[in-house]
């Protein structure tokens, strides 16, 4: 669960909310979803605060293979 991506967690959370709002779950299931939803919501808030960007350049080398190089590196090379 700790490795889940933000948008995945948000999507899952949305699905859980929708499932619960349909209201055709057993109490056990509802409780399980609810707990899952609370956990996802916690993860999302955490991710919101700690998100980091990453910017790379796609480079094709002479063999035609793709490589990623950080933008800053490429910029200093130029």
């Amino acid at each position: 669960m700790a490795e889940i991506k933000f948008e995945e967690a948000l999507k899952k959370l949305e699905k859980i909310v929708e499932d619960l709002e349909k209201g055709d779950l057993t109490l056990d299931e509802a409780l399980k979803r609810y707990q899952e939803g609370i956990e996802l919501s916690r993860i999302c808030s955490q991710r919101l605060e700690s998100a980091k960007k990453k910017i790379d350049i796609l480079v094709k080398n002479k063999k035609g293979e793709f490589e990623l190089k950080p933008l800053d590196e490429v910029k200093t090379e130029q």
Partner: protein
């Protein structure tokens, strides 16, 4: 009229000058020189007819108006610079050199540049390509894929030194940053731009095939900052349009400013009016996400509570109904029980016993009555017997003067003299009173 005009001209020339005879080539060459010197490079306007192109790439057509027709030639070296397709019926303004094709003695316009009349040539080219691609279905809404929400990997095709990338990165600074941006730098204008843009889109798709699904680039932004229509032209090229159309990764076009509309915009899955707008589309605001999250949170709690309350009501309801049902069953059972009990009462041994008891009591009463009756009878008989007995009693005999003697102290009735010896005490009962005596003598008597 005796002489025609041609006759007169012929006559005069024939008579005045010494005869000069041209070869066909000479006269043609002279005409060519006169023609070229007189007109040089000209603009000619007219309607296209008889357009054809031979395999070498040279095109032939006529420009005509209501009265005349001018033959035109367009060599491949000039044709390359003409963006639109020439078709019969078009009104064109052609620039070129007037000359003569000596072999056929044809004067014609050697076209170097063409502009459609009343509309810019780029505009016309755009219109034509639009129509063509439209026919092929490249703009069809059916082909448009949805732009993924919160894509975690975004590919960008633009110039690394252009305004677009700066705008996008500036937006990123203000936004939720949980994103990996991969730039495939290209030239966005001038020579080679369309090829580079198309190749960059293809490369992103190739690269994606090598990646695990969750590592894949989810969306491409293809674009550049603002510029003249010529600057933006690469994004109107068929090659770029087809690359966008064939991309497996959804494409957001972001070319120039709001007012600029390119073919790339029409083919793309989504058209962002500027690169900034494109970035804002895929990079959401942190506040928006927070709000969304809060909304989910509240809905989550409310929905769960609703379900819980619902269940509670169901349980209450069930309990109530269970109660009712139980009462009903109990009532039913009570009825049955009563019925059975009534039956049971009918066959109760106690009843039988009671019945028998009654009988017994009856019998006892009857037997009592009988016994009483019997006793009364017996009583009567007994009284008679007593009376009889009385009449027979020895005491009655005593009254007649007899007496009875008892041996004392045993009070044994004496019947034989041998029962007494001298000195024994004897008692004699008379009819009235008793005499106690001592035996003085015994004898057998007579």
């Amino acid at each position: 009229m005796s002489k025609t005009l041609p006759d007169l001209i012929t006559e005069t020339a024939y008579q005045k000058e010494p005869r000069h005879i041209y070869t066909v080539s000479e006269i043609t060459k002279d005409i060519k020189i006169i023609l070229e010197n007189t007109f040089g490079e000209v603009w000619v306007e007219g309607e296209v007819s008889g357009f054809s192109r031979i395999p070498t790439g040279t095109a032939f057509f006529n420009l005509k108006d209501s009265a005349s027709l001018l033959k035109c030639v367009l060599f491949p070296s000039y044709a390359a610079s003409i963006k639109f397709e020439i078709k019969d019926g078009m009104s064109l303004v052609c620039f070129g050199r007037m000359s003569i094709y000596e072999k056929e003695g044809k004067y014609q316009l050697y076209v170097q540049q063409i502009e459609p009349k009343g509309i810019g040539s780029l505009q016309l080219a755009l219109e034509q390509l639009k129509q063509k691609l439209e026919k092929e279905g490249l703009f069809s809404p059916r082909h448009k894929r949805p732009i993924p929400y919160l894509p975690d990997r975004i590919g960008i095709v633009t110039s690394i030194s252009g305004a677009a990338i700066e705008d996008i990165l500036r937006v990123l600074e203000r936004r939720f940053k949980d994103v990996h941006i991969i730039i495939n730098p290209v030239r966005v204008q001038g020579e080679g731009a369309k090829e580079e843009i198309a190749q960059a889109i293809k490369d992103f798709n190739l690269y994606n095939q090598q990646l695990m699904r969750d590592q894949q680039i989810k969306v491409l932004i293809v674009g550049r900052g603002g510029g003249s229509i010529e600057d933006l032209w690469a994004f109107n090229e068929e090659e770029v349009a087809r690359a966008i159309y064939n991309s497996k990764i959804p494409v957001i076009s972001a070319v120039g400013h709001e007012r600029d509309f390119t073919i790339a915009d029409l083919v793309a899955d989504f058209r962002a009016s500027t690169p900034s707008v494109a970035a804002e589309m895929v990079l959401p605001k942190k506040e928006d996400l927070k709000e969304r999250l809060n909304d989910f949170n509240q809905r989550l709690k409310r929905a769960f509570l609703d379900i819980a309350i619902d269940y509670q009501q169901t349980i209450d309801n069930s309990a109530y109904r269970l109660n009712l049902a139980t009462q009903h069953i109990i009532a039913l059972d009570t009825n049955q029980f009563n019925a059975i009990r009534n039956k049971l009462i009918l066959f109760n041994p106690l009843n039988i016993i009671l019945q028998h008891k009654d009988k017994i009591i009856n019998l006892v009463r009857q037997s009592h009555l009988r016994i009483e009756y019997f006793i009364k009878i017996k009583d009567a008989q007994f009284s008679k017997a007593i009376e009889k007995l009385n009449s027979l009693s020895p005491l009655n005999i005593l009254s007649r003067g007899y007496s009875i003697t008892f041996k004392m102290p045993t009070e044994e009735i004496l019947k034989d003299i041998r029962s007494v010896k001298l000195g024994d005490k004897i008692k004699t009962r008379l009819h009235k009173g008793e005499i106690l005596s001592e035996v003085k003598d015994v004898g057998m008597g007579s």
